[in-house]
């Protein structure tokens, strides 16, 4: 009895494992290779493995894919390579979109082929090893169990594919074409122009000047506005968090108001307040201070100052709320211990409060910078990127994203706009990846 137990529990498993290690000896036939080769036509390998139902399914899927998409893919691939050859017939931009979708379809087909070949190989291998194949019933169960997550992901996946990923690829390609107002269907075809747009951007006087000045202002804007709003937010949070300050609830509510009002509303209100003829800033406040009217909307420098002030107004409550949360979570014992050790108020701040706040707010800071880098709303709604500046094709307060918007919507220089988008995206993505490498989510164990 005891000996038998030892045999079944310990010796047999070891023996079996040894067997399965020397895998080559175990194959009694070559079904796996034959099935895989046959499956180049989807389903045939499954027929060979005598899985009729599955084979039929695969065959039908494969054939119907070919029948319904062959012409489309043919057209799409031809289109994306040539961008059209004959005028009233071919619309370059449509062809480009077809091309991208064709590539998506081909990738899908490739995935299907891999699944199909793998399935043929796996089942062939089972036969080679003399094992039973799964019954139709258990295949069905398998399909449901393994397929369910994919089923759940499908709607979101297709949405992302067409709404987010397709546009990104499209911009990527557009940057290498001359698509603009003059190369539009039906008058003209667009063409691949290689790096022409990028060369123009950096060599043609007007483009280069504009790009440099817009880029410089974008950087100043990003750092100026963000730093101010962050500093103000942290300062106010610490101020309001003082223990003996009364009326915290009402003060906090008031300070959060700029966040609660939708930004587009507040920005439009501000653009009224800064209006040179009737705005309250000039007619009431500057008047009361005895200062002459300031040309907020017509002189670049003043518009820029106004913008940074407005963004500070709009953005500080968010930081305020975040920092308040952090401050409330700092245990009181830390301060008590510091007091016992004889630390001054300033020492407590610089050794306890500030490091703890910075530590937890740091990741938010980076998103604040990227947010302002792309803060189209405040720039466009306040003064449409204006005032105009002689000698360049962007307004004095245009940041990259609002410049791209104007190139797209008013002057229709799509190719150039795409090229600038790519340059801009390099910056954003570089920052994003840098941040990405240090986020908590990335370090989660189930990610790695």
């Amino acid at each position: 009895m005891i000996a038998g137990g030892i045999f079944f529990d310990e010796i047999l498993p070891v023996f079996l494992r040894k067997e399965s290690l020397s895998v080559d000896n175990i194959y009694k036939s070559n079904h796996r290779k034959i099935a895989t080769w046959l499956s180049i036509i989807p389903g045939i390998g499954q027929f060979y493995n005598r899985q009729i139902l599955k084979g039929t399914l695969f065959l039908i899927l494969g054939v119907s894919f070919l029948i319904s998409f062959w012409d489309f893919i043919d057209l799409g691939i031809w289109g994306i390579i040539t961008l059209g050859e004959q005028l009233p017939r071919d619309n370059s931009i449509f062809l480009m979109v077809y091309g991208i979708i064709s590539i998506f379809l081909l990738v899908l087909a490739a995935i299907f082929m891999v699944i199909n070949l793998r399935d043929a190989y796996k089942n062939g291998q089972r036969r080679d090893m003399g094992q039973q194949l799964n019954s139709v019933r258990s295949q069905y169960r398998n399909l449901i169990d393994n397929g369910f997550p994919y089923l759940m992901l499908t709607p979101g996946f297709f949405l992302l594919l067409f709404v987010v990923i397709l546009p990104i690829i499209f911009v990527l390609l557009l940057a290498f074409t001359n698509y603009d107002l003059y190369h539009t269907w039906p008058a003209q075809l667009s063409d691949w122009v290689g790096l022409q747009n990028f060369t123009n951007l950096f060599t043609l006087e007007v483009w280069r000047e504009t790009f440099i000045s817009v880029f410089a202002w974008t950087i100043i804007w990003t750092f100026g506005a963000t730093t101010l709003q962050v500093a103000l937010g942290i300062f106010l949070a610490i101020l309001v968090n003082q223990k003996d300050l009364k009326g915290k609830a009402i003060i906090r509510t008031v300070l959060i108001l700029p966040w609660a009002v939708p930004a587009f509303v507040s920005i439009l209100i501000f653009s009224g307040m800064f209006n040179e003829s009737f705005g309250a800033i000039n007619t009431v406040i500057m008047n009361a201070l005895g200062i002459d009217s300031i040309p907020w909307m017509t002189e670049v420098l003043w518009t820029r100052i106004a913008l940074i002030v407005i963004q500070t107004w709009l953005g500080f409550p968010f930081i305020f709320v975040m920092v308040t949360g952090v401050l409330q979570a700092i245990p009181n014992e830390l301060y008590e211990a510091a007091t016992v050790d004889g630390a001054s108020v300033l020492q407590k701040f610089s050794n306890i409060t500030f490091p703890l706040v910075m530590f937890s707010v740091a990741p938010i800071l980076i998103t604040q910078y990227t947010f302002n880098f792309n803060n189209f709303n405040v720039i466009y709604l306040f003064n449409s990127g204006g005032p105009a500046v002689p000698g360049q094709n962007a307004g004095g307060t245009d940041i990259l994203i609002s410049w791209i918007y104007n190139l797209t919507m008013s002057t229709q220089q799509y190719g150039m706009a795409a090229a600038i988008t790519m340059v801009m995206s390099v910056v954003v993505i570089a920052v994003a990846i840098w941040q990405f490498r240090r986020t908590k989510s990335f370090q989660e164990e189930d990610m790695m």
Binding site: V163, A260, P262, I269, N374, F376
Partner: protein
């Protein structure tokens, strides 16, 4: 004695700063309220408490013959509510799959989401405009809704997935033992437990489209299709300043309900932001 003086001084300075901030914050809002009550269209003889206040601008906004304001309000609510419901459903499915199953492509999918979350979806502005033209989705609310949903998915899926990860897996397993299917576990076991985070996701996917300007501006061409953001902008910019009082009334009617909504849901908002640790 000395410490008492410094304490009084410190508090006085603090209250003073807070008072100044309060004025800076509230003044624009009071100013625009005053403007909305000013008779006529011009602000030339404007005072913050109008001499003979009038509700005429509000009446004008509510009169469908005179303004499209109600249409814009309706468009905005339609777009945001549909976006919210559809996003929450799609996101909950995706987050459930990512949290509960281990499947080929899961890791790459999550990575992709993390990267996509950092690229604002209007970065591909030109593409969106051209593609909308190609597909005929320009000037439709459907196009807008799809774009908002696409924008909402990556970040919120991460958010919800993180929350679902904290719900013990033993619950699913015991439900499976009792014979519950995949969908039943999702719908009757996990989702009810995830309600707090679903609320956060819902708020996010409501507020973002509501306050969006750029995508709506790119996509919508006809005044009848505008959302509030685009409509109000056109109202101010059409002939700059000439309809400012009307605009002022319109913005009060947006700012008040949204602020109240925001302040009452603020708790959820903040908890979501801290959980995500990101996004401004």
């Amino acid at each position: 004695m000395n410490t008492k003086i410094t304490k009084v001084l410190r508090l006085t300075v603090s209250y003073l700063i807070i008072a100044i901030m309060a004025v800076i914050i509230i003044y624009p809002l009071v100013w625009v309220f005053g403007a909305s009550l000013t008779p006529g269209t011009s602000l030339s003889n404007f005072s913050i408490i109008p001499k003979n206040p009038t509700w005429e601008h509000y009446k004008e906004l509510f009169n469908p013959d005179e303004s499209l304001y109600l249409t814009w309000y309706w468009n905005t609510l339609k777009v945001t509510v549909i976006t919210m419901i559809a996003s929450v459903f799609t996101i909950s499915l995706m987050a459930f799959a990512f949290s509960r199953y281990r499947f080929v492509g899961r890791k790459n999918g999550l990575m992709t989401f993390l990267i996509l979350q950092m690229i604002p979806n209007f970065a591909a502005l030109i593409a969106i405009f051209v593609l909308a033209n190609v597909t005929g989705l320009i000037n439709t609310h459907l196009g807008l809704i799809l774009l908002y949903m696409g924008g909402a998915i990556p970040m919120n899926t991460w958010l919800l997935k993180g929350y679902l990860d904290t719900i013990p897996k033993e619950l699913d397993e015991s439900a499976r033992m009792d014979g519950a299917g995949h969908f039943r576990i999702y719908w009757q076991i996990i989702m009810p437990l995830a309600k707090p985070m679903l609320a956060v996701v819902a708020i996010f996917s409501f507020i973002t489209p509501f306050t969006d300007f750029i995508l709506a501006k790119v996509l919508l061409r006809q005044p009848e299709q505008y959302t509030l953001a685009v409509g109000l902008y056109e109202l101010v910019s059409r002939q700059y300043g000439s309809e400012f009082t009307l605009f002022a009334a319109g913005s009060i009617l947006i700012a008040v309900p949204i602020s109240i909504l925001f302040l009452s849901l603020q708790k959820y908002f903040v908890s979501g932001l801290t959980a995500g640790g990101i996004k401004g």
